[in-house]
């Protein structure tokens, strides 16, 4: 007999439904109030804009802005499991947390800078593998080949399967005896295949393998989209001018792919740096040697219950990430891309679309 009884279903439905209903009613009341105040009372021209933006603004303020401000306050406290209800706040506490981050082990053994180095290495390995393999596959897929649709479907499998399922399955396959990774290695004649889940070095390798496998399809699909939007006349012109294949690649493909490549690389760096599921779940034995910054942060907060310390660590991590992004935007010319995304391209598109619509009329 299944445990999913009609009674259980109704109870949970009622539970979720009442919350949703409360939310909807609250939004409706809010909208009417805003309309009364801004439109009827103040006769503001912007009443509608305010009404449109307010629900999202309140939601984001309550669930992102306020928690972040609260986190800053927390960083100046000594909150832990023992001092959950009555922590002390103060500059001295903040200073202590900061000192602890850089002088003591973040969890039990490993200090901050080795973890930072490992995080950078992880980000570098991942993004370079994703881009190289993704671009390579995209170039192959962009040729005149048969079964392209089939290849594409099969190649995006790792992206399509729910991440948790894929990660836990991989973890099983890294089992020393029964996982196919070691079965294959033994078949290839490796007498002593690695203990993927317990040896620090090999665990780090395992985490990397899984994430490469997971991340290549996204890069391939986006870069293939970029490649397909490059007009073939560029290649023909380059060929007439006598450009060699590698010259064509460097002079035509790469520059024209840049508008697609720059944002996905930035996203890739951010996502990899912040990746939690893969390093956390593959590392079944909680080896500190496989932790990257965000998993160490999570463990400090939720396994060691050092909330104040973890909040300070979170701010340090965020500062690093912000610095990296700004640096990257400076080095590459990301600004035009960003600006184009914000206004220019939009305006252009609107004009083109308007023209098209006008032509049809």
């Amino acid at each position: 007999m299944s445990s999913l009884t009609p009674d259980f279903m109704l109870r949970s439905l009622g539970n979720v439904g009442s919350t949703i209903l409360t939310l909807l009613v609250a939004v409706a009341v809010l909208e009417v109030a805003l309309w009364l105040v801004f439109s009827k009372l103040l006769h503001s021209r912007h009443a509608l804009v305010i009404m449109l933006l307010t629900p999202a603004a309140i939601g984001l303020a309550a669930l992102i802005v306020y928690p972040l401000l609260f986190e800053i306050r927390l960083a100046f406290s000594n909150m832990s499991i023992r001092r959950f209800k009555n922590p002390t706040y103060g500059l001295a506490q903040g200073w202590d947390n900061l000192k602890l981050i850089f002088t003591e082990p973040v969890l039990k053994q490993v200090k901050f800078f080795p973890i930072l180095g490992r995080t950078f290495l992880w980000t570098f390995i991942q993004v370079s593998f994703h881009v190289t393999l993704g671009l390579g596959l995209a170039l192959l897929m962009n040729r005149k080949i048969r079964f392209r649709g089939l290849f594409r479907t099969l190649l995006v499998f790792p992206w399509a399967v729910p991440q948790i399922v894929a990660i836990l399955a991989w973890r099983g396959e890294f089992n020393f005896q029964y996982g196919y990774v070691n079965i294959l290695l033994r078949g290839l004649g490796v007498a002593n295949p690695p203990q993927w889940l317990t040896e620090p070095f090999w665990n780090y390798v395992a985490v990397n393998i899984v994430n490469i496998w997971l991340g290549v399809p996204f890069m391939m699909v986006t870069l293939l989209g970029g490649l397909q939007s490059i007009d073939s006349t560029y290649y023909e012109a380059a060929e007439i001018d006598g450009a060699s294949p590698s010259q064509r690649f460097r002079a035509v493909t790469l520059p024209l792919l840049k508008p697609v490549m720059t944002p996905v690389i930035i996203l890739g760096v951010i996502w990899t740096f912040n990746n939690f599921n893969v390093p956390y779940l593959i590392n079944q034995n909680e080896l500190e040697t496989s932790d990257i910054l965000v998993t160490a942060l999570f463990r400090a907060a939720f396994e060691y219950n050092r909330y104040g310390f973890a909040a300070a660590l979170a701010l340090v991590i965020f500062a690093i990430l912000l610095g990296l992004t700004i640096l990257y935007m400076r080095v590459t010319d990301f600004k035009p891309v960003m600006k184009a995304g914000l206004s220019q391209a939009a305006g252009e598109r609107r004009r083109v679309a308007a023209k098209a619509a006008g032509g049809q009329r």
Binding site: T19, L139, R143, Y178, F249, L297, A301, G341
Partner: protein
């Protein structure tokens, strides 16, 4: 970057030298096997009878295939409850998320107001915040408000998770719809809101679908927030629940695999059908039009 060998392969064989073409197929086939094999293994293990779960056999369809594991996961575990929980929460929060995002995106697309640029940059910046970083204050605030082990807190939090990204997607799409359409409707006497509801929203169905799908996958695949907010087993999300199978691995590998397949197959079918649109939806705001 060291892509030159690959590039050369690609370019030299453009006009179809047979060796290059064969190499292309070979590389693609190897890549496909690497991409698909781990998932096929899960499918294979799910079909094995209980006494052969741990074996060093690599064949995909076992000779003595059986559906016992599926029967076990649906009847003897709480997995159906977890799926149900995930399903109702994911559907309802995605609906709210898209609703909130679609109206805000309209404001961002059609009006110029102070703070518009700052708002868009803020939305972009939220994508940079590590999820683990937000968990600390969210957990403490939720426990102070008594929202741990309730779905109320989770539903509210999930309704907002994908809003910033959805606003970006939808704004990009609204921008491509000419304003003349609404102006015409307003000349005919419709209000601004009626024009939005009757003209813009129906025209945006494809991108609304993308935003919904994006919300859906974000929440459906979330592990972190659910793990922090829910501690009672009967309230679990499937992502938490499936981990309990995998953690005492030696005994429940078969159950884990069949549960995995039950969640994965519908999601993968949905994804494979929609991934093309998903990508065009993601790039509409960033690449030249």
């Amino acid at each position: 970057m060291t892509t030159n060998p690959i590039a050369r392969l690609f370019m030299r064989t453009r006009r179809g030298s047979p060796i290059g073409l064969a190499l292309t197929y070979l590389v693609l086939i190897i890549a496909c096997i690497a991409a698909v094999y781990p998932i096929l293994r899960v499918a294979s293990v799910s079909l094995r009878p209980g006494d052969r779960l741990l074996s060093t056999d690599l064949s995909i369809i076992p000779p003595d295939a059986t559906l016992d594991n599926y029967r076990a996961v649906l009847q003897d575990t709480k997995f159906p409850n977890w799926l149900w929980n995930s399903l109702i929460i994911t559907l309802s929060t995605s609906f709210i998320g898209v609703m909130v995002a679609s109206t805000s995106a309209y404001a961002f697309s059609r009006w110029n107001f102070t703070g518009k640029k700052a708002g868009l940059i803020f939305l972009f910046a939220t994508q940079m915040i590590p999820a683990a970083m937000l968990m600390i204050p969210l957990y403490i605030l939720a426990s102070r408000l008594g929202l741990i082990n309730t779905w109320r807190g989770l539903v509210i939090a999930y309704s907002v998770t994908a809003v910033p990204f959805s606003i970006w997607i939808l704004k990009g799409y609204y921008d491509t719809i000419p304003t003349e359409l609404e102006e015409a409707a307003m000349i005919d006497g419709a209000g601004r809101m009626a024009a939005f509801l009757k003209i813009i929203l129906p025209l945006s169905t494809p991108s609304l679908a993308i935003a919904f799908l994006f919300n859906f996958t974000q929440v459906w695949n979330d592990y972190l927030l659910a793990r922090i907010m829910l501690q009672r087993e009967e309230m679990f999300f499937w992502t938490q629940g499936i981990r309990t199978f995998a953690d005492n691995f030696r005994t429940q590998w078969g159950i884990y695999s069949s549960a995995s397949l039950i969640v994965s197959v519908p999601v993968m079918i949905l994804f494979l059908f929609s991934s093309k649109y998903l990508i065009s939806g993601l790039t509409v705001g960033s690449v030249k039009g």
